[in-house]
């Protein structure tokens, strides 16, 4: 080595390399970022733009301020859809949650044939929602549906008609389908969490001489809360947004008895062609969820050690 200039590359190329190296991570995340921007961010920003404009039949006309929001919030049909969704979510999700947890605990007891059972449990969640919808439409299709004929008709319920045509019970049938579809998934998610719990604290509890109930409520459950919170939140959001199965089974009917905000937005867009107001609906739902999720996140982080 005689001098520095001989061994080190010229200053400019080092700088260029530094620049390249700084760009490298961005290069790696670029494909997913571009996808995200194109399919999520741009449409979302466009929806916000639309919500402030008069847009009917695919033509964006003049700026409307908050008019879309005002007419939406004054619309009884909007509030009906919120209450339908709330009923749906607050019945379906807790049941899925508890059944899932109970199922996970049973799976954890070294059930025979577990390795066969687990792949089967994935099936409802793996099915396309449209398929699930069609499946249950047929199963509960009045006098020729497998379940409706063998169960409902036998006891004189919903004669000659589908439960999905009943204004009083259609929503509960939808709830049932949702439970059917998502309980096994919850079960598997909780089961995985259960299996991942450290074994040592359970040994300590055995030494302490704690009974099974006490172990469950004071040890298993608290140790699982972070997972329960995350899975519960995801399912909650997902249940609120459910569209496909409902679209196939009832499309909001009879009347507006099963019309959730997703179905309503769809109708507003493709039946009433009031795109401005439909966008306003989408934005309101988004804001509500944004606030809700943030509150949940903060609480879960502080109280439950989740996230």
């Amino acid at each position: 080595m005689t001098s520095i200039t001989e061994t080190d590359p010229p200053l400019q190329t080092t700088r260029a390399r530094d620049k390249r190296e700084a760009l490298y991570p961005y290069l790696l995340i670029a494909p997913s970022m571009i996808t995200l921007v194109v399919v999520a961010l741009i449409p979302f920003l466009y929806a916000i733009y639309l919500s402030f404009h008069e847009a009917r039949f695919g033509r964006v006309t003049e700026f409307a301020g908050f008019a879309n929001y005002a007419s939406l919030l004054a619309d009884e049909r909007f509030w009906n859809s919120v209450s339908v969704a709330a009923t749906f979510v607050f019945i379906a999700v807790p049941i899925e949650f508890m059944l899932g947890l109970a199922g996970a605990l049973i799976l954890g007891q070294n059930v025979k044939g577990r390795s066969i059972l687990i792949p089967l449990l994935f099936m409802p969640a793996m099915m396309a929602p449209v398929v699930v919808g069609l499946l249950w439409k047929i199963m509960l299709a009045g006098s020729w549906g497998f379940i409706s004929y063998n169960v409902f008709e036998r006891f004189g319920m919903f004669p000659d008609t589908s439960i999905f045509a009943s204004p009083d019970y259609a929503l509960y049938a939808l709830i049932f389908v949702d439970i059917w579809q998502w309980t096994p998934f919850m079960m598997l998610a909780f089961f995985a969490g259960l299996q991942a719990l450290p074994v040592a604290p359970f040994r300590a509890a055995a030494i302490d001489g704690a009974g099974p109930l006490r172990i469950f409520f004071r040890l298993t459950l608290p140790m699982m809360t972070p997972l329960l919170a995350v899975i519960g939140l995801l399912r909650f959001i997902d249940a609120f947004k459910v569209f496909d199965t409902m679209y196939i089974l009832t499309n909001g009917g009879p009347g507006t008895s099963t019309e959730t905000p997703s179905i309503l937005a769809n109708k507003m867009t493709f039946e009433f062609w009031n795109i401005g107001e439909a966008s306003a609906l989408a934005v309101i739902v988004w804001i509500a969820f944004f606030i809700f999720c943030n509150i949940f996140y903060q609480v879960a982080k502080k109280r439950l050690n989740a996230f």
Binding site: I207, D208, R214
Partner: protein
């Protein structure tokens, strides 16, 4: 070796009596382990890692069932009993703290659990007593200021002390401490070793103190049990185990550095009983020659503690030759490692000036020739075949 009576000893009414415990997982972990824990005693169980110490602890506690053997608590068959029913306090080597409970709650859990089991309602007086007891234990272990932290917010040594506090907070039928002070810093370890020992030896129930450190076992145990490869090699007072190790496994484990074990062959050509190997020749005194005569073959292993090995540069100590392999100063003493002519490594322990003179400077002298003399009155002889101590009478 302990005697192995066929029936459970009724005299051990308050103690624990294990007989012929055997346990295999993929291979045999415990083999015919018999052990008595007498009321009030501290039994130190030591052995190299993988010897089966923790498995034995878990069988005694009831977390694991032995494949065969019997176990009695206070003369009563304990094998059908759950850990809670056995009333064992176990400090886990892995701590096993409840991750969602604070230090105070973790420590208090055995008290609360016992209270719940008794079926009585919560009352304020009991709660206050529990709290006070918990505080006192945390105080002893110097972690009272961490009371409200969660285990995840503690260092390894702090977690170990919480686990220890939880095991100590309540006296049961048996206390098992699985490596209770091994992850603490040296200063705290020295302090706690004495305090902990004093505290648990005041108890009426027996305690089992598990440690891989033979020296720690000697200092804390009323008796010491040595476990190696799933077998109990020796049970005895610290003096017995130290002075008369039953076999080479025990000798290897106790002492720091461990006893030198030098394989030698009886020299048939010599006029007087002599042991030798290349570069070493040892004319035996009467005691050692009598012991050597008991050996199965003509090969024996000489055991000599590092502090009973004289090293010098002088020519008059010509029992063995070697050269200095390492010269390690430790402040108040030094350890000189010597490679004998035959390749055998031995360690000698002595004062700092001694080591400095030998090496020509502190920590120096590697490669220097030295001569070695064995203090025969302090030496032990082991059989080369079955590794038993030839001077050990059952």
């Amino acid at each position: 070796m302990t005697m192995q009576p066929k029936t459970i000893d009724a005299a051990l009414s308050g103690g624990v009596c294990a007989r012929n415990l055997t346990k295999s997982f993929e291979h045999e972990v415990l083999s015919q382990v018999s052990l008595d824990l007498r009321p009030g005693e501290v039994l130190a169980l030591t052995g190299p890692s993988g010897a089966g110490k923790t498995t034995l602890a878990r069988i005694l506690a009831g977390l694991e069932r032995p494949d065969s053997g019997t176990l009695a608590f206070g003369g009563r068959d304990a094998l059908p009993l759950t850990p809670g029913q056995r009333d064992v306090q176990l400090m886990f080597e892995s701590y096993a703290l409840y991750p969602h409970l604070s230090v105070v709650e973790n420590t208090m859990s055995p008290l609360v659990a016992a209270h719940v089991r008794s079926g009585r309602k919560r009352d304020k007086a009991r709660d206050a007593t529990n709290r006070a007891t918990t505080e006192a234990v945390l105080e002893l272990l110097e972690i009272a200021h961490l009371g409200h932290r969660l285990p995840a917010e503690l260092s390894g040594g702090q977690k170990q002390r919480v686990a220890l506090a939880r095991a100590l907070v309540r006296e049961g039928a048996l206390l098992i401490l699985d490596e209770p002070i091994s992850h603490l810093d040296a200063k705290l370890r020295h302090k706690l070793r004495g305090e902990l020992r004093q505290r648990i030896s005041r108890r009426a129930s027996p305690s089992l103190w598990i440690t891989p450190d033979g020296v720690e076992a000697l200092s804390v145990g009323d008796r010491v049990a040595v476990l190696s490869h799933g077998r109990i090699e020796q049970v005895g007072t610290p003096e017995e185990v130290w002075q008369r190790p039953a076999n080479m496994a025990v000798a290897r484990l106790l002492g720091d550095p461990a006893m030198n074990l030098i394989p030698l062959r009886r020299d048939a050509a010599a006029a007087t009983p002599t042991l030798g190997m290349p570069g070493m020749s040892l004319a035996l005194d009467d005691r050692l020659s009598a012991l050597a005569a008991r050996a199965t073959g003509d090969r024996v292993v000489l055991g000599i503690r590092p502090d009973a090995l004289d090293l010098a540069a002088h020519a008059d100590m010509a029992e063995a030759h070697g050269e200095i392999y390492a010269n390690e100063p430790f402040g108040k003493h030094a350890i000189v490692t010597v490679q004998l002519k035959g390749g055998q490594i031995v360690k000698a322990k002595g004062s700092m000036p001694w080591a400095a003179e030998l090496g020509g400077g502190i920590g120096e002298g590697i490669g220097r020739p030295v001569r070695l003399k064995i203090r025969q009155e302090a030496a032990l002889l082991f059989d080369h075949e079955d590794e038993r101590n030839l001077g050990f009478l059952k």
